[in-house]
Amino acid sequence: MIIKPEPTLKDLQFILEENRIKASDLLEMYRRMVLSRYFEEEIKRIYNQDKNPFNMAVGLIRGEMHLSIGQEAIAVGTLYNARDEDVVISTHRPHHHAIAKGVDLKKLAAEIFGKVTGLCRGKGGHMHLFDKTKNFACSGIVGASFPQAAGAAFAFKYLGKDNVAFAFAGEGASNHGTFFETLNLASSWELPLVIVIEDNKYADSTPKSLTMATTFHYQQGLANNVLSYLVDGMDVVDVYITAKKAVEKARRGFGPTLIEALTYRYVGHFEGDTEEYRSKEEVEFWYTVDPIRRHENRLLKLGYADEDKLNKIKEEAKKEVSEAIKFAIESPLPDPNEAFVGVFA
């Protein structure tokens, strides 16, 4: 099983009704996915425009660039359940999570461009985005998100708050010791933690099947007494409903949940990746279940939106993205002296 079959209109209506999902929720999820997609497409365009021949050190955006195009439904579906105070720890592929958490798009863009107006004053860059106001953080180190989110969950529990911490990671990261260590510890301590594994099939270039003894990560969760689900990561509704259960359970003090979401990244591991490890046919197949187009079709089928309405959402998202990019490009670079301050608080 790769993706779940598309529900009939009647089933879909039933699912939405049963989970009290309103038209406005579905439209907002749509908007966030579209915003994330356009943002990254624009980042991709600008990142590559000055890099021919390919050279990571040059251009408006420097360094490595890991995009999440194709994986938007997981970030949006999960974090539609999050509050500002809930903590999200993301990975080296963090943009969709940041946008889904509501991180300011202008500051996000400016950070990616290394500008002083960025989230981290230009000290973090694309893989190290931090936003205290949204309790968002990430790490460029594979497997690092699990214990940190567990630590935030521990703090919430200690402080008597009903907040939740989310750890996002790829399927490659979940071969890391921190995954198993955190499952065991979060389960023992009943932490309000939601771990989301985005299984996009490849750890850099290495297929999951070559490096994992079991087929699914949820099996590893179950082995540690962590309630675990397998969801269709190309279906924002499936992700949302499952994450909602996980979040409500965590807020009530009933411990961690693992969600394994099957998905695909339409782009390479990093920009510049020649992608010879996967076939064109495989990539094309996954485009047939594009989470945004799929959601769009449902909105139309349900009568929650017509073409005009969807176009309007898209236009507004495009506008927001271009304003953010414009802000980033026009913002000043940091003063070089900035490099020497801020090691200690």
């Binding site: 931090f130 790490s139 214990p147 940190q148 567990a150 010791g177 955190t182 608080a345």
Partner: protein, 331 residues
């Protein structure tokens, strides 16, 4: 109160700060029953219970990450890294996150984490349980590196660490802990009952002298003091400096003393190459070269793992006699 060794002093400081600040929690392996094995958390469990003093699984990487995440939400974790030798298992969360998140986030996420770890050999625990390794932490920007040598300092520096918004690593030498199952080369002294701070970045002149400056931290301070007494009998007046913290480093006191005596011996229980002795040597020569009467000398572990057998171990860790001999040659 009268305190023998640094372990009880550190535990006393943590207890008093925990009473003052309910955001402080203690985490790590065996922090309850065994008081983190070397006594740094002794008595805390009895006082504060399992809600605030928490045994973790043996998962250094994960409990270091737990402290990073908890600090981001506003707690001040005190983490026990049982032996510093185990840091390999947890180092990613320490040096890539704990030490960098404040800087990388442009000042948004301070990391008030205090890591307490045991260092040093001298009792036959061999290569994986006898290292010192503080230079690794001092090398990485973002950690404050604290090495107390007396009960007074141990308490004051720990209180300071628990009020610091940055990651501080406290290195407690096993032979200074004062625990019954280990040799003791430290001191027993009267220290204030109430909490007090000892500043970071202020070295202590443990003994004043005019002929040679001996610089060290932790156990090596005590051995240098004993060597200084022997030198005294030969008519050599040695000044002994206890750096107390490697980050921040009190350069002024070192330079001033080097200028005064013109002869410097640096003593270190960490490995020789690329370590603390090289760093201090450079700093002195860059600011006091003209005042030096002889080249700076150093004694450190000569780039071998700490061996097990007694004569072998004694051959590599600087002894009182070795310090004495080396210092004598300089004068």
């Amino acid at each position: 109160m009268k305190i023998k060794g640094i372990a009880q002093a550190i535990a006393n400081a943590i207890a008093q700060e925990m009473e003052r600040n309910d955001r402080i929690v203690v985490l790590g392996e065996d922090v309850t029953y065994w008081g983190a094995v070397f006594g740094f958390t002794q008595g805390l469990f009895e006082k504060f219970g399992r809600r605030r003093v928490i045994d973790t699984p043996i998962t250094e990487q994960t409990f270091m990450g737990i402290s990073v995440g908890a600090a981001a939400v506003g707690l001040h974790p005190v983490v026990s890294l049982m032996f510093v030798d185990f840091l390999g298992a947890g180092f990613d969360q320490m040096f890539n996150h704990m030490a960098k998140n404040y800087y990388m986030s442009g000042g948004q996420f301070p990391m008030p984490v205090t890591v307490i770890t045991a260092i040093g050999g001298g009792y036959g625990d061999s290569a994986q349980h006898s290292q010192v390794l503080y230079s690794l932490f001092a090398h990485l920007p973002g950690f404050k590196v604290v090495i107390p040598s007396t009960p007074y300092d141990a308490k004051g520096l720990t209180v300071k660490a628990l009020r610091d918004p940055n990651p501080v690593v406290i290195f407690g030498h096993k032979l200074l802990t004062g625990l019954p199952f280990l040799p003791f080369e430290g001191t027993e002294e009267e220290i204030p009952d109430e909490p007090y701070e000892v500043e970071f970045g202020k070295a202590a002149i443990r003994r004043e002298g005019s002929d040679i400056t001996i610089i060290g931290v932790g156990l090596m301070v005590h051995r240098s003091l004993k060597a200084a007494e022997m030198l005294q009998k030969d008519g050599i007046s040695a000044e002994v400096i206890d750096l107390r913290t490697l980050v921040p480093l009190d350069e002024d006191t070192i330079i001033k003393s080097a200028k005064k005596t013109g002869r410097v011996l640096i003593v270190d229980e960490d490995y020789m190459s690329y370590g603390m002795t090289g760093e201090i040597t450079f700093r002195i020569q860059s600011k006091a070269l003209k005042d030096l009467k002889v080249p700076i000398e150093r004694l450190a572990v000569p780039d071998v793992p700490i061996p097990f057998s007694k004569p072998l171990e004694e051959a590599v860790i600087p002894s009182v006699n070795a310090i004495y001999e080396k210092a004598k040659k300089l004068v």
